[in-house]
């Protein structure tokens, strides 16, 4: 029946939407964009639009909280590369999206967020549930719109999806006053986009590409430094071709994980504050640093004054503002990594760099990522390591933020792009649960696992109810150290173990999630870990949660203390 009704809209909407109400136009635009699922929460300003969506083939997932909705949209977008759609009502519904918008902005995730707004004639009057969403969201969106008339609605939606998904992707917010969702269009809509100032530069300048290749070929100690841009650009194959042909060692940022196959000897794993010693030493000693889709975040560079002191910097990025913002680029190449790398590989020459590669191999041998096994507690690192084996390094992994996130980055062994969904730029605790659910909506047949911390999990675990409702087999592993562990680690190392505010007593999570309707498992004995993980992985009748009581005072190493240089990292047990 839904189908018939939709066809009716379609017929009505074919002629420039004349006679259609705003809600129907929005719906048609979403259909045209290929939106199959959207995440949101209702409210007064959305009632007319929700009325249209009632008959829609688009799945409308109602969450427990609007933050959950936008993080689900992010998880969906990160897993697929498609634009995620979130929808929230005016005022508190809309402000609940703010964290997700900021998160998507910093991690360049394509999102269209639709917010209801009070009636046009009430805007500016402090009306009930009015919040100035275009004002609030301006610094944390790629762009935003307040719709002024039903005449503009179709065009604005076309522009929003275009802006969100092209160039450096990002969140776009459309604030729609409720009267506009009801108003009917009198004359045919003009959907022609009017954004003359938006021209993302896609193809790199060939001379710059050649110069880059020349610098790389001439270098004795090159290092690729790969960021999330390579994932967004779908440039993994091109990157790996350059890496292979030039025999270039490579490291990734947190956001770039999966761009490299970490089983490849040329992959040095993650760089930065909790990066591998090899990646950090290689960064400091390289004579040519080739940044691709990365932005020299302070969590990567450590002390800037001493960062990669000998390196000639090649910087490939689609966002010109990222280039020479933090570190001056000697050879800037603005454009889409995929095309640029595909062109560059032609000019890359295989070069003998035995000495450099041997040095790297030696670091790898001396300073592998590792941990002290044994003891009465389960080691959190062993959970991630074991999970990597059991899932063949092939699952989609979401995370919260904290120590567990870093252990996930260090020990899972990522192999392919879009495999890790984590909050990199904003570091949003609570991202794991909803983003994993969003990813499972996007990839119903994939194994999707959220590796979470007890603190992060507590923030958004209510969304498990959403997964129960939709019978999604999402899996959650909670590293329960009863601490806000990452902050506690800083307190241990730099504040005399004064654990101010970081002791985090937890409820009986198994009971909680069983109350939600999910399966709950708990494991404390290291000898039973593998069985518990298998039980989790084998359960597919809905969401399942494995609570792992882990060593509460385990620390993440290596660690570059704030303000120190990368080579001054604390190595933990390897020191």
């Amino acid at each position: 029946m839904a189908k018939t009704k939709y066809t009716k809209y379609k017929m009505k909407l074919d002629k420039g939407f004349v006679g259609a109400c705003g809600g129907e136009i929005i719906h048609q635009m979403l259909m045209d964009q290929g939106v199959d699922v959207m995440f949101g929460f209702p409210g007064g300003a959305l009632i007319p639009l929700f009325d249209v969506l009632y008959d829609s083939p688009i799945k409308l997932v109602i969450t427990r909280h609007e933050q959950g909705a936008i993080h689900m949209a992010e998880g969906y977008a990160r897993a697929t590369g498609k634009t995620g759609v979130a929808i929230a009502t005016s005022g508190p519904g809309a402000t609940n999206l703010v964290t997700g918008l900021a998160n998507a902005y910093l991690d360049s995730t394509p999102i269209v967020a639709i917010t209801g707004q009070v009636r046009s004639n009430l805007i500016g009057n402090d009306a009930f549930q009015e919040a100035d969403m275009t004002g609030i969201s301006r610094p944390i969106t790629k762009h935003n719109f307040l719709v002024g008339s039903v005449d503009d609605l179709g065009r604005i939606f076309a522009e929003a999806f275009h802006i969100a998904s092209t160039g450096r992707p990002g969140p776009v917010l459309i604030d729609v006053p409720v009267d506009i969702t009801v108003n009917k269009l009198a004359r045919a809509a003009d959907l022609t986009m009017r954004i003359p100032g938006y021209k993302p530069s896609l193809s790199g300048h060939i001379r710059q590409i050649q110069s880059a290749a020349k610098v790389i070929n001439a270098s004795a100690r090159p290092l690729l430094y790969v960021g999330g841009g390579v994932i967004h650009s779908e440039a993994t194959a091109e990157l790996r071709a350059v890496q292979e042909k030039g025999q270039l060692p490579a490291t990734t940022t947190l956001m770039g994980l999966g761009a490299l196959d970490e089983s490849n000897p040329l992959a040095l794993q993650m760089v930065g504050m909790h990066g591998s010693a090899t990646a950090n030493y290689a960064t400091q000693e390289c004579d040519c640093l080739i940044a691709v889709g990365a932005r020299f975040d302070d969590r990567v560079t450590g002390n800037l004054d001493t960062f990669a002191p000998d390196a000639t910097v090649v910087h490939i990025d689609i966002d010109p503002t990222s280039i020479s913002k933090v570190v001056k680029a000697d050879v800037p190449v603005v454009g889409d990594a995929k095309g640029i790398l595909a062109q560059m590989v032609e000019f890359i020459e295989p070069t003998d760099r035995t000495e450099w590669l041997e040095k790297i191999a030696d670091w790898k041998k001396r300073y592998p990522l590792g941990y002290e096994p044994g003891g009465k507690y389960i080691k959190p690192q062993s959970v991630v390591e074991k999970l990597g084996e059991l899932t063949d390094h092939d699952a989609i992994i979401a995370t919260g933020v904290g120590q567990h996130q870093m252990w996930t980055a260090q020990f899972y062994g990522f192999r392919k792009p879009r495999q890790i969904i984590t909050s990199g730029g904003l570091g949003t605790m609570g991202f794991g649960v909803p983003s994993a659910i969003g990813a499972q909506f996007a990839c119903p047949d994939a194994t999707v696992i959220d590796i979470d911390g007890d603190g992060s999990f507590s923030m958004t675990m209510g969304e498990i109810v959403t997964a129960v409702h939709h019978e999604l087999p999402v899996k959650f592993i909670v590293m329960d150290n009863e601490y806000l562990g990452m902050v506690r680690q800083w307190q241990e190392m730099f504040f005399d173990k004064r654990y101010s505010g970081t002791v985090h007593p937890c409820p009986d999570f198994v009971k909680v999630v069983e109350g939600f309707g999910a399966k709950g498992i708990r494991v404390e004995d290291p000898a039973k870990l593998t069985d518990a993980l298998k039980e989790l992985l084998d359960y597919n009748d809905g969401p399942a949660v494995l609570i792992v009581a882990v060593d509460p005072e385990e620390n993440v190493y290596p660690m570059v203390p704030a303000g120190k240089s990368l080579h001054e990292m604390e190595l933990g047990r390897l020191a």
Binding site: P139, L146, R194, I195, G197, P320, K325
Partner: protein, 160 residues
Amino acid sequence: MKHVITALVQNQPGVLAHISGMFAARGFNIDSLVVGRTEDSELSRMTIVVVGDDTVLEQVRKQLGKVIPVVKVRDFTNTENVQRDLLLIRVHAPSEKRPAVVDLVNLFRGRVADVARSSVVVELTGTEDKIEAFIDLVRPYGIRELARTGVIAMQRGGRK
């Protein structure tokens, strides 16, 4: 160092807030910001005087370009250009001092726009340097009120 930058922007609600917000959030130091219409009714021109070194200026240009309603950014540094600022100033000028003040106004090719018993309102256009020189010279008479538009600029020669 001061730099003059112009941005052609689409006339849309919120553009000014967007740009001034971006400047504030990124810690760019604005000396003046002028918005006005252009020959195209859909576009306005913002003229911004920014203080900063070359690296800052490069970021300013790029960040402006990234704002979606910004259609074109131009940097007037190292170009042949015309720059004008408009000053309105109310100077204390009782009848015995008025001739001296008016002399200065004439020397600067300004105009007395209004006369009251003990003061005059002067209008003056010119480069920032000229305007500032004038202000310095009338300061001893007593400045009651001062308003400036901020700089607008245009390239010399036939090019747009």
